[in-house]
Symmetry: C2
Subunit: 325 residues, 2 copies
Amino acid sequence: MTDIAMIEAAAARLKGHVLRTPLLSSPFLDEIAGRRLLVKAECLQHTGSFKARGAWSAVSALTPEVRAQGVLAYSSGNHAQGVARAAALQGAACVIVMPSDAPALKIANTKALGAEVVLYDRATENREEIGAALAAERGLTLVKPYDDPQVIAGQATTGLEIAEQAAEEGVTVAEVLVPCGGGGLTSGIALALEAKAPAMRVRPVEPEGFDDTTRSLASGSVVANDRLAGSICDAIITPRPGELTFPVQQRLSGPGLVVTEEEALRAMGLAFLRLKVVIEPGGAVALAAALFHGAELAADTAIAVASGGNVDPVLFARALATLDA
Amino acid sequence: MTDIAMIEAAAARLKGHVLRTPLLSSPFLDEIAGRRLLVKAECLQHTGSFKARGAWSAVSALTPEVRAQGVLAYSSGNHAQGVARAAALQGAACVIVMPSDAPALKIANTKALGAEVVLYDRATENREEIGAALAAERGLTLVKPYDDPQVIAGQATTGLEIAEQAAEEGVTVAEVLVPCGGGGLTSGIALALEAKAPAMRVRPVEPEGFDDTTRSLASGSVVANDRLAGSICDAIITPRPGELTFPVQQRLSGPGLVVTEEEALRAMGLAFLRLKVVIEPGGAVALAAALFHGAELAADTAIAVASGGNVDPVLFARALATLDA
């Protein structure tokens, strides 16, 4: 499993290939939050999300021979773009298996990043079977979205940067709020902070109705979401906590926080107004928790990770509309 | 006048107090630009614009005795917020003289940053007289928006960062496109690059109808704008090139580039989509030139400064609407 040596090795491989995203702040947001608030703007990362880190880590950890055969991922979203970019820039062929009803823009973006997109019919086909057949035929290596030690190590580099950048601001004690889907980013940051900023505590944040990790942490065993669709926070909706990620989260993070979609939209609007960054709904849940759930926090400083910015203009307009209220 | 020693001294004073803003990029924007394009995201700066740099430099350059008496600025926009923040965090009183018809949000923001706002009636009162009376009465020091060597030195720190960050990307030859109003940012960056990246050339960029610097550079002597209102790029509209800034621009920059308001809006939309940053119209003119005026550029790499992000949601919605086309 991922450890600090693996994380630091991933950071060395990522250097020059992913962005060291800034830690942003605004006195106006501090006032709303009722404490000092720092925002790790990972929405500015290449491909618009932290997924570029884990993908780069995983692809660069392969042996040259294996990498040359190519990689495969299942995703219609941020993971697809991260893997496509990492593969293209490291000279590996890349196949992304996507449902045929995925938005045309996401398919186009993934192709433009150099990937071959294989579409399947959600109703009649099984993506794992399609992927397994392709992998066997071409010798492709599957890059999982979160349950992979090297992917977790890549996401964890976000935590190394948080520890360094917060220390530059004089902050060593804080609650670090992280949008949580499968738990790759959350568990990775928790492992990095355990080694580099042990007085910081990770708090996973989820949207209402999709709070599998929060409930799993509270109950002490893995529980699943009742449904997997119908949230504007689609980027962080997964069936249940990961097999590798959950034990780390259980040891190092929690309790979880849960925000409404309306709170996520308001956080996006305030990030537009005060930080000048574009955050997608799923990426804004941690900022929303920091701004609107301060009573559930204890530390004088909150650090919220804005994990992605891939949002369409129509949905973003809904976030802007919250500023009128 | 400002020189590299003064710029480096300003950088030392600014350290820890202004953000080292990232250099962003996207393969999608490279494709539109027809060359490699790097974007210096100064819209992420504290107070939402580069003005925080010059203001910090000017206020911190005062002797403790003079600073303790307080500072004064005329501005309804980005300069006001920069000066208010710099004064508040350095323990100086701050008076901002603003027209009484300035937007309520700008007045509120400036007050929230700790400044005393003195309103005047544009039709019947003269702001210089009001300011001079206040300055004499209270011993306040005027912080000019651009025609001040220490303000120029502060803006120039943007250029020091561009030289360093571009070198990390392997770029030493480039055209550096800078939104140009009074010329403080343009001349400052040009002075920094003269010392640190002499193979880079600064190109001032202005909105159509307000191209005083472009015309002045072309004709060899200072010419004024015909009008001062009626542009969505209001943040970079000034009567004419500055007395200190123009000779620097004449020696080190040009020719100027001119973009339409529609091009600025389209650049804002693409920055939303591909970089996940919020840019105001005046701050987007350099990006617009890089994207849509490639035929007027020569270098293989363009670096566009996104100088500010203070745009209201209604205007931003117009930029998003350009993405439908």
